[in-house]
């Protein structure tokens, strides 16, 4: 009887918002009653215990597993690799994981996007990663680089050397090393050691040169360039003659693609490209040509350069009989001014690039052909196929 009365009175007053709030606070207070201490104690106990339990697993496991061979000679993944890569093997298969662990990758130009890429590819478990960037660490580089801590001893050490230490730490199964020197001075035998070459923050001439060096080798090297300016990013891919497998209606079929080189791609007359090619493609070419003509290092531009950039756009468009309005002033202005990278865009471009490199190494899934653009302003991530139709692309 008492219960019923209580319920009813509670019910009535319950409709009163103030009381409701009071009840809420009250119920909260009661939820945190004396049991809090006991549950906390239990939680602590469990935490401590599970930690010790898992810790002892890692000890006993490492005792059982033979010394790591990086999957280099054995055809099967080690128990350690299977445990570490479990979730991704479920995405791309053990076969792809084996190929990854035998692949060798070179990156040059360690700015935000490439750092993101390096993290992704080291986590994925490639065989080795070679870093090339002799620049000293600047305040700016520090602020957008999660591989270098401010208290690291940066004096006298290059960007590549500092990134190397952190990357090694991400995945002890990947060999990370530094190669000093100028990218364009390396010969064919140097590039022959790699399966994938990624270059960033370098001149138009260097891009073309490295691409050609890779193409001259008998071995097929996957070549990529990547650059971010303001909140925009561009990836170029050259897989040469590429055969891969993809699944279609439960059947694995072989597909083939032919890629133009960077030089061939950008030489294609703008007018002959399909309509609605991303404006970023043209804008990036203008900036590239501007930096080359002025002898600037990549990214060495400011708002003061805008008039000359616009002038160059006019010249290029006239030479190509191309409508200037396809390359808006506002876009060029953003690219000229925004030389600092925007970390979310680095993460996005570095992620897409990582995915593409994984596809190229594993030979599984449709690769990107042959340009990718992202602009945070409209949020679109677009693939453009910039190839002459008669080159087979």
């Amino acid at each position: 009887m008492f219960m019923l009365e209580f319920n009813i009175s509670l019910g009535r007053t319950y409709l009163d918002r103030k009381f409701k709030l009071g009840l809420y606070v009250l119920s909260l207070g009661w939820t945190l009653r004396p049991i809090t201490k006991f549950t906390k104690f239990l939680k602590l106990l469990l935490e401590g215990f599970s930690f010790l339990r898992l810790y002892s697993i890692s000890l006993t496991r490492s005792e059982l597993v033979p010394p790591l061979k990086l999957g280099m000679d054995g055809e099967e993944l080690t128990e350690q690799e299977t445990a570490l890569y479990d979730r991704q093997i479920r995405v791309w298969g053990a076969d792809a994981q084996r190929r990854l662990s035998k692949s060798h990758i070179l990156v040059s130009g360690l700015k935000g996007t490439v750092v993101e890429f390096c993290k992704n590819i080291v986590l994925a478990g490639v065989g080795s990663l070679t870093l090339n960037d002799d620049h000293p660490v600047t305040e700016e580089a520090l602020s957008v680089n999660f591989l270098i801590a401010p208290d690291d001893n940066v004096a006298g050490r290059s960007l590549a050397e500092l990134c190397c230490d952190s990357l090694k730490d991400f995945n002890p199964m990947v060999r990370v090393s530094v190669e000093k020197g100028d990218l364009s001075s390396f010969g064919g035998d140097f590039y022959d050691k790699f399966d994938v070459v990624v270059v960033s923050c370098c001149s138009l001439a260097t891009k073309k040169l490295i691409n050609e060096k890779c193409r001259k080798l008998s071995k097929r090297i996957a070549f990529y360039t990547v650059d971010c300016r303001d909140s925009c990013g561009e990836i170029f891919v050259d897989l040469q003659d590429y055969t891969y497998s993809k699944k279609k209606n439960d059947e694995t079929i072989e597909s083939q693609l032919q890629y133009p080189s960077f030089e061939e791609a950008i030489a294609i007359p703008w007018r002959s490209l399909p309509r609605r090619v991303s404006k970023l493609y043209f804008a990036m070419r203008v900036i590239e040509r501007f930096e080359e003509a002025e002898g600037r290092n990549p990214g060495e531009t400011s708002i003061a350069d805008l008039p000359n950039v616009l002038k160059l756009r006019k010249e290029l468009c006239e030479a190509q009989s191309f409508n200037e309005s396809q390359i808006p002033d506002s876009l060029l202005e953003r690219l000229v001014v925004g030389i600092r990278e925007f970390p979310p865009v680095c993460a996005i471009i570095g992620g897409i690039l990582g995915q593409e490199v994984i596809k190229a190494i594993s030979g599984k899934g449709d690769p990107l052909k042959n340009f990718f653009f992202f602009d945070a302003m409209d949020g679109k991530g677009i693939i453009e196929d910039i190839a002459n139709t008669n080159t087979g692309g």
Binding site: G11, R53, Q88, A94, N120, F342, A347, I382
Partner: protein
């Protein structure tokens, strides 16, 4: 790079991140690099080895520690001047109440389960704080923006219905490997090693159910004088031999099905193999001894007590988890694993639940499922695949998480600047759609019939003379509406309430109400009644109009209740300017991928279709199953292309997404206390 305006919005923002896992690690890094100064992060999980391939802030030495705390420390090493506040706790803890949420400018979700997502959605709605929601599976991902009154909330689109298997499919007529896994994990494993008091449908119902159930009771007990080897073989013969014979005796069942083959241990493992099995055990003991010596400085207590220290695979010399074992190998693993449970882990018996990280449990379930599959002519699977199915393991790679985290930050900056017209939900696709790999779409408007963000009442058809309050609470309030601490009112009368603070007599009253049919409650619930259901913690309140209905279709409506009124919002007429500008196509392609989600540890139910089970309020909690153990890119890709989501859900071969796990966390909580 960010403009001055953006920078000041970023600097002044106080951000709450929920989840420090795959997306969370990437997100925390990108937030810190982008200049965010005040970040709070909640995650109840601890670090596991299988996280390390993508959760790059964690190292092997951190295994077992709090994700939120380790992530904070890792980030502060390279951006020491910002403030990161970690909480190693469940976001559903009452500490994270409305006032807690109100202190933030935006909430960013990087969660792995529907239950927590709904909870955060409701608190964000109540606190009027914008929410950015995200999810990834393999190479697919999505980011959505939820701002109260401006865009749809997370629950505006009904989530896919729970995947459930009729009991008889699991117990008698499996046709897919997943059915065998469910049987091995939720029936056999639970029967042998779990709580003996839990109801269990392991035994086939034969025509003379009374006598067989008596017979069953003792089968799973070790008999006096029986050694573990004999016991294992007896269990083996009972579940793979005798039970199949019993099932076969029911001719009707097999008229249109392939008959299973009873399997007995003596046929698979003749006498000489028994001895070999025995000697293998000695090897195992030796192995253990060697290990103990090698680990000289490791406390023996932990080696001996460490559940992972005993593996059936290792003691039988099987190494590659990707190999598919033969029937003989599966049988030996079965017997070996069973023996190891009884000899090395006897203390845990009676309270074990399946855990995908418990190697011995995975071995046992794989072997049992394979033997059953063999019996039913279903292709066998490797331990690696079986683990994926049994543990409902989500496919995950670092790259997608990094991309999604970048997109979240871009949206967060827009939200902080109140740049409403530019909000986008973005899909990360595996195969380009209209040249796009990253596809932005304008957010949808709120669904006017959404129970979470509008005040539209729901309709419940129910037989008020047969369904009990308990059914209503479990199957509707908790499973469908996802409430944790519900309070049910009929007019001004309280019918039910959950809380730690209840007086004893009130609690008794509510407990009594649970077992009453709706029409016989102190304040009777009949057709035309309007119930008010509230969750004080989630600040969610909704009205439910009760409609009395006599009959329900046992197969289609096993709950014997039908909740409606919460339907998909009509497709938005307005074309997306972004996309239509490209080629004038509508947004139809994007809607095909709309409900892409990842669900980590959600549960599903096996529904009893028998009348007696329903009236007894029986219900099985079964961990979620995903049939897709696909380990290649293109199979996953198929999900993003072409087919509509609804069709996919009808197809058993697709990744199945579960709802209605409202109880799993609560039961965990109960266990804790």
């Amino acid at each position: 790079m960010a403009s001055e305006q953006q920078l000041s919005a970023i600097k002044g923002a106080k951000v709450l991140m929920v989840g420090a896992g795959g997306i969370g690690c990437e997100l925390l890094k990108t937030l810190a690099l982008s200049g965010f100064q005040d970040i709070h992060i909640i995650d109840m999980d601890t670090i596991e080895v299988s996280n390390l391939n993508r959760q790059f802030l964690f190292r092997k030495l951190h295994v077992g520690q709090s994700k939120a705390k380790v992530a904070r420390d890792a980030i502060l090493r390279f951006t020491p001047r910002i403030s990161i506040t970690p909480y190693h706790a469940n976001v559903k803890d009452p500490d994270f109440n409305l006032d807690f949420f109100k202190q933030f400018n935006v909430v960013l979700n990087g969660l792995d389960n529907l239950d927590a997502r709904r909870h955060v959605n409701r608190l964000c709605l109540a606190a009027d704080i914008p929410l950015i929601e995200s999810g990834t599976t393999g190479f697919l991902g999505q980011v959505t923006v939820h701002v109260k009154g401006k865009t749809e909330c997370y629950e505006c689109q009904p989530k896919p219905a729970p995947k459930s298997y009729p009991v008889c499919t699991i117990t008698s007529t499996p046709s897919k490997f997943v059915h065998c896994i469910v049987w091995a994990k939720d029936l056999l494993f639970a029967k042998l090693f779990g709580d003996k008091n839990q109801e269990n449908d392991l035994n086939v119902r034969s025509s003379d159910s009374a006598s067989s159930s008596e017979h069953v009771e003792d089968v799973f007990e070790i008999k006096n004088g029986e050694d573990i080897e004999q016991y294992g073989r007896r269990i083996y013969d009972h579940v793979f031999g005798y039970n199949i014979e019993v099932a076969l005796s029911n001719e009707e069942t097999w008229r249109n099905r392939n008959k299973p083959r009873p399997i007995y241990s003596r046929d698979v493992l003749p006498a000489e193999l028994i001895q070999e099995n025995g000697s293998v055990d000695k090897n195992h003991e030796n192995g253990n001894a060697v290990k103990n010596q090698e680990n000289g400085n490791v406390d023996k207590f932990f080696v001996a007590d460490d559940p992972s220290a005993v593996f059936a695979m290792a003691s039988l010399g099987l190494k590659n988890p990707q190999d598919i074992w033969s029937l003989v190998e599966n049988s030996r693993i079965f017997l070996e694993a069973l023996k190891l449970f009884f000899t090395k882990r006897e203390k845990e018996l009676g309270q074990l639940t399946f855990d995908k990280d418990d190697q011995l449990a995975v071995e046992f379930v794989t072997a049992a499922a394979n033997i059953r599959a063999d019996s039913f002519g279903i292709p066998l699977h490797s331990l690696f695949e079986a683990k994926g199915i049994a543990g409902n393991i989500v496919h995950a790679v670092a790259t997608t998480n990094a991309i999604i985290a970048g997109l979240i930050v871009i949206e967060a900056i827009k939200v902080l600047q109140n740049d409403t017209s530019n909000y986008r939900m973005t899909y990360c696709l595996e195969h380009p759609s209209r040249k796009m790999l990253l596809m932005p779409v304008e957010p949808f408007e709120p669904n006017k019939s959404c129970y979470a963000c509008s005040e539209t009442p729901l309709l419940l058809e129910v037989n008020t003379h047969r369904s009990m309050l308990r059914d209503f609470v479990e199957k509707i309030i908790k499973a469908k509406l996802g409430m944790n601490f519900p309070l049910i009112m009929h007019g001004s009368a309280l019918l039910y309430e959950v809380g730690d603070d209840l007086e004893e007599d009130m609690a008794a009253n509510y407990a009594a109400n649970l077992d009453k049919v709706l029409s016989e409650l102190p304040s009777p619930v009949t057709g035309g009644t309007i119930l008010t259901v509230e969750d004080l913690q989630q600040e969610l309140s909704c009205k439910i109009n009760i409609i009395h209905r006599e009959e329900f279709d046992e197969e289609k409506e096993p709950d014997r209740m039908n909740l409606s009124g919460w339907t998909q919002a009509p497709p938005k007429e307005k074309e997306n300017t972004n996309i239509s500008s490209d080629n004038g196509a509508s947004t139809s392609t994007t809607s095909q991928t709309v409900t892409l989600e990842t669900y980590g540890d959600d549960d599903i139910e096996i529904l009893s279709t028998g009348t007696e089970s329903v009236s007894a309020g029986k219900k099985r909690k079964v961990s979620d199953i995903s049939d897709a153990t696909t380990s290649d890119l293109s199979n996953i890709a198929d999900k993003s292309s072409g087919k509509k989501k609804h069709e996919e859900l009808d197809d058993d071969d697709d990744v199945v997404v579960m709802l209605g796990d409202g109880n799993s966390d609560i039961s965990k909580k109960k266990r804790l206390q």
